[in-house]
C-alpha cells in the first residue's frame, strides 16, 4: 500500500508543476513551489518506509524546515527587493 500512496504523491507533484508553469501571477508560482515542498517531504517519508530505511525521516524533517524558510525568504525578497534589514513602513 506504500506503493499506491507513493504513486499518488508523484501524480500530485506533476500536477503542482503544471500550475507552477502555467500560473499567470508570480504568487501562483510561489504557492505551487511551497506545496511542492510539502509533497516532497511526504514523498521522502513514504520512500523511507518503502525501502525499509528509517533514516530518511531526518531528511524529511530537515526539508520541511528548509521549505518554510525559503518560502518566507522569497516573499520577503519579492516585497522589499533585498534580504537584509527591512525598511520601516
Amino acid at each position: 500500500m506504500f506503493i499506491a500512496a507513493t504513486i499518488a504523491i508523484l501524480v500530485v507533484m506533476l500536477i503542482i508543476l503544471l500550475r507552477a508553469a502555467l500560473g499567470p501571477t508570480v504568487f501562483d508560482r510561489i504557492l505551487a513551489i511551497n506545496t511542492f515542498g510539502t509533497a516532497t517531504v511526504l514523498l521522502i517519508a513514504l520512500f523511507g518506509f518503502l525501502t525499509g530505511r528509517p533514516d530518511f525521516m531526518d531528511i524529511a524533517l530537515l526539508y520541511a524546515l528548509i521549505n518554510f524558510v525559503s518560502t518566507i525568504a522569497i516573499l520577503k525578497l519579492f516585497r522589499y527587493g533585498k534580504l537584509g534589514e527591512t525598511p520601516s513602513e
Binding site: 500512496a5 504523491i9 500536477i15 504568487f27 511551497n34 506545496t35 513514504l46 528509517p54 520541511a64
Partner: protein, 97 residues
Amino acid sequence: MQIISVLGWILLILGSFFCLVGSIGLIRLPDFYSRVHAASIVDSLGAILILLGLMTQTQDPIVIIKLVFILFFMMLTGPTAVHALARAANLADKESK
C-alpha cells in the same frame, strides 16, 4: 497490531485522496485566492493524515518520535506560510489599484 495496521492503511489512503483532491483544485479553480485554499488542503489535511498513517506502520519508537516532530513542524509552519503568501498577494493587489 492488526487493527492498528488496518487503521494506518485507511489513514494513508484518505491522506493521498485529499492530496489528489487538493492538487486537482490547484489547477482547476479560476481565481488565485481559491487556489490558495486548495493548496492549504494539501498542506494541512493531506500531510497530517499521511503522517498519522505512517506512524502506525512501524514499531520502532525513534521513528515514531521523528514522525511526531515532522507532524508538529508541518502543523506549525504549513498554514503560516500559506497565510503569509495570501497576505502578501493581498497587499500587492491593494498597492496596484
